[in-house]
């Protein structure tokens, strides 16, 4: 509730500034104009939202699979960890804005390059949090499992993997916000649909309110996705007391 009040207050300030400050509404539309655009352009926004949402969902799913697999490989083999950790960090320094068009040339205009870009951005926090969790499994627990004749795989399956799952989901929660930004850049690079594409089109057409409406939808989507992951975390790993987000 307090979050809604805060948002309302900020929107009120914005409305006041747009009305009293005399800013051209082609540069900064008032919230009321954005709300109007949200309503009048609802079909356009929805159609493009579905495209972007699909890209982000697939991208995060791919990042979860990739990030978890990476973390497990790095956990099982010290040499893999030593060899790949610097590369993983380096991969996060790749300027997505510049690489995105190259990926489009390489993978085509379809959903492929978008998912690839989102996955590349998002898998890193997932890998890091998962790897840390795998490393933090209680040493005494691992000893105990050895006296119970656990194989390496058995120890992973019964102790390490369940301990790492909540961490992977925490990583995904961190990744959600950048995933949405990544989707927009990916669409900028070459796309005929999606909210990023819509924003890119709306600005030169002086449909500033529409562009802002698309931004509002993107932000709302990021928030929804974050809470969806939070909910999934509580559902899948109810034994952990995750930090409350509500």
């Amino acid at each position: 509730m307090i979050a809604a009040l805060l948002a309302l207050g900020l929107v009120g300030l914005w409305q006041l500034y747009a009305g009293v400050g005399g800013v051209d509404d082609l540069i900064l539309p008032a919230p009321s104009e954005i709300a109007t655009a949200l309503w009048t352009d609802r079909e356009l926004l929805w159609d493009n939202f579905v495209v972007t949402a699909g890209e982000v969902a697939l991208g995060i799913a791919a990042a979860l699979a990739l990030g978890f697999a990476c973390a497990v490989a790095m956990h099982f083999s010290r040499s893999v960890r030593r060899a790949t950790y610097p590369l993983l960090v380096a991969s996060q320094a790749i300027p997505v804005v510049i690489v995105a068009p190259l990926l489009v040339v390489w993978l085509g205009f379809g959903i492929g390059p978008k998912v690839a870009i989102i996955a590349v951005i998002c898998f890193f926090p997932i890998t890091v949090t998962t790897l840390d969790a795998l490393g933090r499994v209680d040493r005494d627990t691992m000893k105990l499992l050895r006296t119970l004749d656990a194989t390496r795989w058995g120890a992973f399956r019964f102790a390490e993997a369940p301990a790492a799952l909540p961490a992977a989901l925490s990583g995904a929660k961190i990744a959600v916000a950048v995933a949405v930004i990544g989707a927009v850049f990916a669409e900028y690079a070459g796309s005929s649909e999606g909210l990023g594409h819509l924003i890119l089109q709306a600005i030169p057409q002086l449909e500033t309110a529409r562009a802002w409406a698309a931004v509002v939808v993107l932000a709302a989507f990021a928030v929804a996705l974050f809470y969806a992951l939070d909910w999934a975390q509580r559902l899948l790993v109810p034994w952990t007391r995750t930090e409350r987000t509500s």
């Binding site: 627990t141 000893k143 499992l145 006296t147 194989t151 019964f158």
Partner: protein, 260 residues
């Protein structure tokens, strides 16, 4: 996997496997000598309590017997041993039943088979109705019972119990000691019980090994002859308890104080 129909007199599964022989063992951690030239023999089916002040190398001894560490000198010969650690270390995501059956799962049993094997023992340990509870929902005593069941169901002839009841209040501890005595009467195993509670040692064990610290070594072995079930107020038990405490005090004073 154990059938619970065994009579109290039935021998342990594999007598030759159930014996422990620790012979002149030294174990160092860097500059610190945790255990020095320690020797201890436990016959199959015997319950031996190891008492000593904290830091005298009791837990190290258990790790050596369980094969979790190798001695720097000397020999350790022991059959397959299951460890019950000081902290219960139950898996927080698994139900009480699945925690108890963990050893069976790790040896390849299906989920259903492992649960079916563990379920009948649950009743004997007063855990009926808590099969599906997660560890967080159990009391300290119940968690210890589940941890003990996990050790028991591992099916090893030797049980290494590391201060299993130290974290419990006096009442739960007495209750747990009764559970343990009953379980061992039903299904004898070789037990190496580490404790700092001398009374617990003389109530449960056939023999008490008294350790002294820095470096860890055994300074006295006391045979506990009175028949079971034993009560703490029995004069014979009280006398044995005093002997063990004297041996502990002598051990703490130095090597000269060692008594047979």
């Amino acid at each position: 996997m154990q059938t619970q129909t065994a009579s109290p007199a039935s021998p342990p599964a594999e007598p030759e496997h159930g014996a422990i022989r620790v012979d002149g063992v030294t174990r160092r951690f860097g500059a610190v000598t945790a255990i020095e030239r320690l020797s201890l023999t436990v016959r199959a089916g015997e319950v031996v309590a190891v008492v000593g002040p904290s830091g005298c190398g009791k837990s190290t001894l258990l790790e050596l017997v369980c094969g979790l560490a190798a001695p720097d000198a000397g020999r350790v010969e022991a059959g397959p041993a299951a460890l019950m650690p000081q902290r219960d270390l139950l898996l927080p995501w698994a139900s009480a039943l699945d925690n108890a059956a963990l050893g069976l799962r790790l040896r390849g049993a299906s989920k259903a088979a492992a649960r079916a094997a563990a379920a009948p023992v649950f009743a004997q340990f007063g855990l009926t109705g808590f099969e599906r509870s997660r560890p967080a929902a159990l009391s300290g005593g119940m968690r210890q019972r589940v941890a003990f069941l996990r050790t028991l169901l591992a099916g090893k002839p030797i049980l290494c119990l590391d201060e299993p009841f130290a974290a419990l209040d006096a009442l739960s501890r007495a209750e747990m000691q009764a559970w343990l005595a009953e379980a061992l009467a039903r299904e004898p195993r070789t037990v190496l019980l580490v404790t700092h509670d001398v009374e617990e040692a003389v109530l449960l064990a056939d023999r008490v090994a008294v350790m002294a610290p820095r470096p860890g070594r055994i300074v006295a072995e006391i045979t506990v002859a009175p028949p079971r079930p034993r009560v703490a107020t029995d004069p014979a038990i009280v006398a044995l308890r005093s002997r063990a405490i004297e041996a502990l005090a002598a051990g703490a004073r130095g090597p000269d104080g060692a008594a047979p």
